[in-house]
Amino acid sequence: MATTTLAKAADDEAVRHAARIEHVSKSFAGPAGAQLVLDDISLDVAPGEFVTLLGASGCGKSTLLNLVAGLDAPSSGGITTDGRPALMFQEHALFPWLTAGKNIELALRLRGVPKADRRARTEELLALVRLKGAYGKRVHELSGGMRQRVALARALAQDSRLLLMDEPFAALDAITRDVLHDELTRIWAETGVSVLFVTHNVREAVRLAQRVVLLSSRPGRVAREWTVDIPQPRRIEDAPVAELSVEITEVLRGEIRRHGQH
């Protein structure tokens, strides 16, 4: 997969980025006129890169993700992505009328994978998220962590070069979340997919990402960026992770304090 991306990138300028966000602003009509939610955001995600978007409430991080996913259009500026991105939500969003396996097969079917290949590909994806026996399981029979892993497999079934994740582990208990961090890091390394991961959890951002982008709130602007060069696999309680988290938290709190001053 990595090689095809590179081959394409040679003859196509746009493909050098999994996503390119250029001067994007977004406002919504509110009771007091148009309200600016995102203000002049520029951000690139390189092929195979793992970027986390970090911010407090009101920073418009979910709005930005919706724009990148193509679910909404920016008020100004442009977004180009390398193909249609896959999107994972905080809620698993699995269809309860289908089994875990059929949920994945639906994504394959909508992508145009021939019927004969779907079952085998689904079993591969289930093995990738370590849920080998779960093909025939109903969604309500799975635990929260298992549901998010099926949702991840379904997102990967779209075979997108960019995976958008909107606080996918926020609703899980801490133990499960910790395990899923390890899993996501492993799967990201195995598949070479680019990830744009939204969270309000500083340690989670540092634990996962190669690059952390901090957004300010109301309106959302890129406040600062950090490159994380701590080698993977990391743990959330590693000292370098904790140190960088403290530093980022200080800046984040500074950003939040500004809103209490006027």
């Binding site: 999107l87 909508l110 849920l131 969604v139 298992m146 395990v179 390890d182 195995e190």
Partner: protein, 307 residues
């Protein structure tokens, strides 16, 4: 990024990194899955009998006891007002021996089910149209809801005038009774589809007709099935009204005609026989077809709480 070069495809299953780290993670994960999964299965037969079958049997027995008591203690001492349970039973038994009983039932049930199938074929596309096309909803949505509260007996006189005394009149009355219920059920089912499913579908490429087929319709199924259930109840009621009002020898004797014949002959046992049969058949169809359908839909989605 060095890590992509180590990619061996999804079947590898072992993380790059220190040897054994992947296996250890897999073990932790398997443990978590086992801890959090709940076993689900059907309750044993004995429980079902005690919880679900016994209570209605007791209730029916109680009603029979009270009924018999009213006769035995001469509270009501006039067989033309209240026949005894045994007299009604004899009436049913005689009809069975004459070979007429199944004929009565089949005449009505075949009409009812066929009419219901017509209503299904009409109400489903109509409901979809109202749910998905804004203009159609604004135009006929309120009329469709209003029609639900119009007793379908009201349609019998015009249906007789338009179509004459034959089976097509019966079907017309069933349609007018059941189509609004089925269409409205589908509309409310579609309205209750969580927006999250629509968003998830759209990111997967399910838009337009594909979205309707793969996401909207299956997501709306619980509301649709509730509409079908109500649609059947309305079909059956409309049909009985039509059979009672428009009884005509050439139409064959259904349960409604049986009731009307009983009234004409001032035969209270026959009237009670007809009422009981109408009730029993209505309940039986619901228990045999619609309740299992509804339970299957809800259970497969984890929407049914087992008490």
């Amino acid at each position: 990024m060095a890590s992509t070069e180590t990619s061996t495809g999804p079947t590898g299953g072992i993380a790059p990194g220190p040897a054994g780290a992947g296996d250890e993670l897999a073990g932790v994960e398997a443990g978590l899955d086992a801890l959090e999964s709940t076993a689900s299965g059907r309750p044993p037969l004995r429980r079902t009998l005690i919880d679900k079958v016994l209570p209605p049997v007791v209730a029916v027995a109680l009603i029979l006891v009270v009924w018999q008591a009213l006769i035995s203690f001469k509270v009501v001492d006039d067989p033309s007002k209240l026949p005894s349970p045994s007299a009604v039973w004899d009436e049913v038994h005689e009809a069975w021996l004459r070979g007429d009983l199944l004929g009565y039932i089949w005449t009505s049930v075949s009409r009812g089910l066929l009419g219901f199938l017509f209503a299904l074929a009409l109400g489903t596309p109509l409901g979809l149209l109202v749910a998905r096309v804004k203009f159609v909803r604004a135009a006929i949505g309120p009329i469709l809801s209003g029609l639900q509260s119009l007793p379908s007996v009201a349609w019998v006189p015009p249906a007789v005038i338009w179509l004459g005394l034959d089976n097509s009149m019966m079907y017309a009355v069933i349609l007018l009774g059941a189509v609004p219920s089925i269409a409205n059920g589908l509309v409310s089912g579609v309205d209750q589809v969580p927006p999250l499913f629509l968003r998830a579908g759209r990111t997967m490429g399910a838009t337009g007709l594909k979205g309707t087929w793969h996401i909207v319709l299956p997501a709306a199924l619980p509301g649709y099935v509730a509409g079908l259930k109500q649609g059947w109840a309305f079909s059956w009621r409309s049909l009985m009204a039509a059979e009672i009002i428009a009884s005509f020898p050439d139409l064959g004797v259904g349960l409604g005609q049986l009731l009307e014949n009983g009234r004409n002959a001032s035969d209270m046992s026959m009237v009670f026989e007809a009422i009981l049969l109408i009730l029993v058949v209505g309940i039986a169809i619901d228990l045999l077809i619609f309740s299992p359908l509804e339970r299957w839909v809800l259970r497969s989605r984890g929407l049914m709480v087992r008490s």
